[in-house]
C-alpha cells in the first residue's frame, strides 16, 4: 500500500508552493506530477504515495495561483511561464532525470518543459493530455478566452453550479470530496489565472508537430491513460500519442471521464505502478 506521503512546502520561482512527496528524497531521478486546470498537488496524493511505496521518488506541487499557492509579482501566466516554474522547482528539488506525469493543462506545460530539457526526460505518463494535433478548444475554454464573457462566467460560477456543470460532463460522476476540494481551490486568483492561461494559448495543438519531431526519435517510455468519456479532450487523441511516443502503452478507460485518477483511482494506480515496474528502479 501507499508509503507515507510527506506534505511540506518548497520555495521556488519566487513563491512558496505546497509540496507532496514520497520515496527516497535524495534521489536525482524522480516522478514529477504536473496538475491541470483546475487542479493542485492534492490531485496526486494517492499516486505519489503509490510511486513512493514502489521505491521511487515522487513529487507533486501546486502551480502558481492554483491550489493554495500564490503567484509572485510579475509571474507570466502562460504555458511557458508555468514550464519555467516547473524547471525552477526541479532545480530546487535537485531532480535531474524526470519521469513526468501530466494531466490536462499540465500536458502543454510539461511538454514545453520537455522541449527545453529533452535529455532529462526519462519517461512520461499522460493522463487525458498530450500532443493534440489539430485540436481546437472545448466550449468552456472558448468562453474563458472571450474577453468580458470569460470574466462574467468566472464571476457567476458558484459552488453548486460548478458541481453541477462538472458532473454533468462526467460519465460516472466524480467523488464528492474531490469536487469540493477543487472548488475550494477555485478562488479569485485561480479564476484570473485560468483566463490568462487560456488566453495566452490560442492554438493548443500548435506545437504538436514540433514536439513529435523532437520526441518521437527518442522513443521515450510512455504510458497513456485516457477516459473514453472525456468531454474536454476527446479520447481519440489517446492513440495519437504514439506519434510522439512510438512505444507508448495506451489505455482508454471505457467508464472514465476527464479525471480517471479520481473516478478510477485503482486502475490508474495499477497502471502507473506497472509502468514503473517495467521501467525498473531508477539509478540511485
Amino acid at each position: 500500500m501507499s508509503a507515507q506521503v510527506q506534505r511540506s512546502s518548497l520555495l521556488a520561482g519566487g513563491t512558496r508552493t505546497r509540496l507532496v512527496q514520497a520515496g527516497p528524497a535524495d534521489a536525482t531521478e524522480a516522478l514529477v506530477f504536473v496538475h491541470g486546470n483546475p487542479g493542485s498537488a492534492d490531485d496526486w496524493t494517492r499516486l505519489v504515495g503509490a510511486a513512493g511505496a514502489a521505491g521511487h521518488r515522487a513529487v507533486a506541487f501546486d502551480l502558481p495561483d492554483f491550489g493554495e499557492t500564490i503567484a509572485p509579482d510579475g509571474f507570466e501566466h502562460t504555458p511557458f511561464g508555468y514550464a519555467e516554474f516547473v524547471a525552477e522547482a526541479l532545480e530546487e528539488l535537485g531532480i535531474e532525470r524526470v519521469r513526468l506525469v501530466l494531466h490536462d493543462f499540465g500536458g502543454p506545460i510539461g511538454l514545453i518543459w520537455a522541449m527545453a530539457h529533452p535529455d532529462a526526460l526519462a519517461g512520461i505518463v499522460l493522463i487525458d493530455t498530450g500532443v493534440l494535433p489539430g485540436y481546437t478548444w472545448h466550449t468552456l475554454a472558448q468562453i474563458w478566452r472571450t474577453p468580458v464573457l470569460g470574466e462574467l462566467f468566472q464571476a457567476i460560477t458558484n459552488r453548486s453550479g460548478y458541481r453541477f456543470a462538472l458532473n454533468r460532463n462526467e460519465p460516472r460522476g466524480l467523488p464528492r470530496e474531490f469536487v469540493e476540494t477543487m472548488y475550494d481551490h477555485y478562488d479569485r486568483r485561480t479564476r484570473r489565472a485560468v483566463l490568462k492561461l487560456y488566453r495566452a494559448t490560442p492554438d493548443p495543438g500548435g506545437m504538436s508537430e514540433n514536439l513529435i519531431g523532437l520526441l518521437a526519435p527518442r522513443d521515450i517510455p510512455a504510458l497513456v491513460i485516457w477516459g473514453e468519456g472525456d468531454a474536454y479532450l476527446p479520447s481519440s487523441y489517446a492513440a495519437a500519442q504514439e506519434r510522439a511516443f512510438p512505444s507508448a502503452d495506451v489505455h482508454v478507460l471505457p467508464a472514465s471521464g476527464h479525471w480517471p485518477f479520481a473516478d478510477a483511482p485503482e486502475t490508474v494506480e495499477r497502471l502507473l505502478v506497472e509502468f514503473l515496474a517495467r521501467l525498473g528502479a531508477p539509478p540511485r
Binding site: 460519465p171 460516472r172 460522476g173 473514453e228 468519456g229 478507460l253 471505457p254 467508464a255 478510477a264 497502471l271
Partner: protein, 410 residues
C-alpha cells in the same frame, strides 16, 4: 445413410441449435424429418459465439430433455451481475434467473447427437441446400448437394431454414428482411485461471456505450468478451489478445484476466448487422438467427434459437398431423415470434447504434443498482422472461420513486 425415398414431412436446413431443436421436437411427434447440414463433421460447432444462453431459453432446453446432459457435461447455471456507473445491478439470488454457460464446442455436438438419435430424424451431414423446390405456389423442400457432387431432391410439406444469420434459405426464399446497423464489434476468448468475482455467475459491464463481459463456463474456463464501438477497432485488429486483455483489465472492478492464460485464440466479429426476417413464407419457416439475428450484446441468440424452434414445432404440429392447413400453423408461428421478440428487438437494435444511454435507461439502471426489487424486474427483463410491455409498467414508476428517494436522502 439417407433412404432412397426422398419425401419427408419436414426438411430442416442447418443442424446447429435451432435446426436440431426443431428436428428433435418434430421427430418425437412422429414426423419424418430430414436434417441437412453442410458441415460433414458431427463435432463441428459455432466458433464465434459468447455461448451464453439466457434464462428464457432454459424451459425449451429442459423440454427437449437436454438440461441434464448439459449440466452433466459441465454446463454452468449463471445468474447475471451487471455493472453500471451507479453500482452493480444484482437481483436477490433467490429471484435471479439462471441461464446456461457451456462452450459451443461441447454443446453443439451434444445437441446434434441427440437429434441424430431421435427416431424419424434423418441426419444428412455434408449436404448443403442448393435451391428450393416449389409446388403449387408453395415451397416444397430443397435440392441438396454433397461434396462428391451428388444432388438429391428432398421433398417436404414444410421447409425450415435454420442456417444462421447469413441464411441461404432466407435468401433463396426472398422473404422480406429488415436490417439495422450495429455500431459495435465483438472480440472474445477463453481464458483459464482467470475466474471473475461472482463465478460461476456471469458479469457484464455496461460501460456506456462500451460493453464487456465475463462468462465462467465448463472446465473452469472463462469466456471474456469486449464489444466496443468501432472507433476502438484499430487497436483490436492490430493486437487482438493484447487489446482484449487491456480492455477487460481496465474496466471498473476489473476481473483478473491478466492472471489467466488464453486458451486457443481470440475471435472477433466486426460486422454484426442486425437482421430481422419475416419468419414464414408459404410452406417455409425460419428459426433461430435465420429469422432474427439480433445484437449479440444481449446474449439472446442461443436461447432464442431453442425458443423459436419450440414455437414453430408447437404451431405447425396440428397442421402436419393433417388437422388443419399448414398456412394456419405458420401464421400462428409468425405471430408468436413477433409477440415474444419484437419489443425486445426494438430496444436492442436502438441500443446497438452505439449511443449513450438515454434518460429512461439511466433511470432504470440507477434504480436497479439502488433497489433490489428494481434489480429483480430488470433481471427478468434482461433474461428475456418478461417483455418490454410487461417490464415498463412495473419499472418506470418504481424507478422514479427510487431515484427520487435517493436524491432526497443525499
Amino acid at each position: 445413410m439417407p433412404s432412397t425415398d426422398s419425401t419427408y414431412d419436414v426438411v430442416v436446413v442447418g443442424a446447429s441449435l435451432a435446426g436440431c431443436a426443431t428436428a428433435i421436437q418434430l421427430g418425437r411427434a412422429g414426423l419424418r424429418v430430414a436434417l441437412i447440414e453442410k458441415q460433414p463433421d458431427p463435432q463441428a460447432y459455432k466458433r464465434i459465439c459468447s455461448h451464453f444462453i439466457q434464462a428464457s431459453g432454459v424451459p425449451a432446453i429442459e423440454r427437449l430433455g437436454l438440461l441434464e446432459s448439459i449440466e452433466a457435461a459441465g454446463g454452468q447455471r449463471p445468474r447475471v451481475h451487471a455493472w453500471t456507473r451507479w453500482g452493480w445491478v444484482e437481483a436477490p439470488p433467490e429471484q435471479a434467473a439462471r441461464g446456461i454457460n457451456l462452450r459451443r464446442e461441447v454443446l453443439d455436438p451434444l445437441v446434434r447427437s441427440t437429434a441424430a438419435e431421435t427416431p424419424g430424424v434423418e441426419m444428412m451431414l455434408g449436404w448443403s441446400a442448393e435451391r428450393l423446390l416449389r409446388e403449387h405456389g408453395s415451397f416444397a423442400g430443397v435440392a441438396a448437394r454433397n461434396p462428391d457432387g451428388e444432388e438429391r431432391e428432398l421433398r417436404a410439406r414444410l421447409t425450415v431454414g435454420a442456417d444462421g444469420r447469413d441464411s441461404r434459405i432466407a435468401e433463396l426464399s426472398e422473404v422480406p428482411v429488415k436490417t439495422s446497423p450495429n455500431a459495435r464489434f465483438a472480440y472474445g476468448g477463453y481464458f483459464e485461471g482467470a475466474a471473475p468475482a461472482h463465478a460461476p455467475d456471469a458479469s457484464v459491464w455496461f460501460l456506456d456505450p462500451q460493453w464487456a463481459a465475463a462468462f465462467p463456463t465448463d472446465t473452469d474456463l472463462t469466456f471474456y468478451a469486449a464489444m466496443p464501438t468501432k472507433e476502438r477497432l484499430p487497436e483490436f485488429k492490430r493486437d487482438p489478445e493484447g487489446a482484449l486483455v487491456r480492455f477487460l483489465a481496465d474496466v471498473p472492478e476489473a476481473p483478473p484476466i491478466r492472471e489467466g492464460r488464453l486458451v486457443d485464440s481470440v475471435m472477433g466479429k466486426v460486422d454484426m448487422t442486425n437482421r430481422m426476417r419475416r419468419p414464414v413464407a408459404p410452406g417455409l419457416a425460419l428459426v433461430g438467427d435465420a429469422a432474427l439475428a439480433a445484437d449479440p450484446l444481449f446474449g439472446v441468440g442461443c436461447g432464442w434459437a431453442f425458443q423459436s424452434a419450440e414455437w414453430l414445432s408447437d404451431a405447425v404440429l396440428p397442421a402436419l398431423a393433417g388437422e388443419q392447413p399448414l398456412e394456419r400453423g405458420l401464421d400462428r408461428y409468425r405471430r408468436r415470434h413477433a409477440k415474444e421478440l419484437r419489443g425486445h428487438t426494438y430496444f436492442m437494435h436502438d441500443y446497438s447504434k452505439g449511443r449513450r444511454m438515454d434518460l429512461p435507461e439511466r433511470m432504470m439502471f440507477a434504480a436497479g443498482a439502488r433497489d433490489a426489487r428494481s434489480a429483480a424486474i430488470l433481471d427478468s427483463f434482461a433474461t428475456r422472461q418478461i417483455r418490454p410491455a410487461q417490464m415498463l409498467p412495473r419499472m418506470v414508476p418504481r424507478a422514479i420513486a427510487v431515484n427520487a428517494r435517493h436524491a432526497l436522502a443525499r
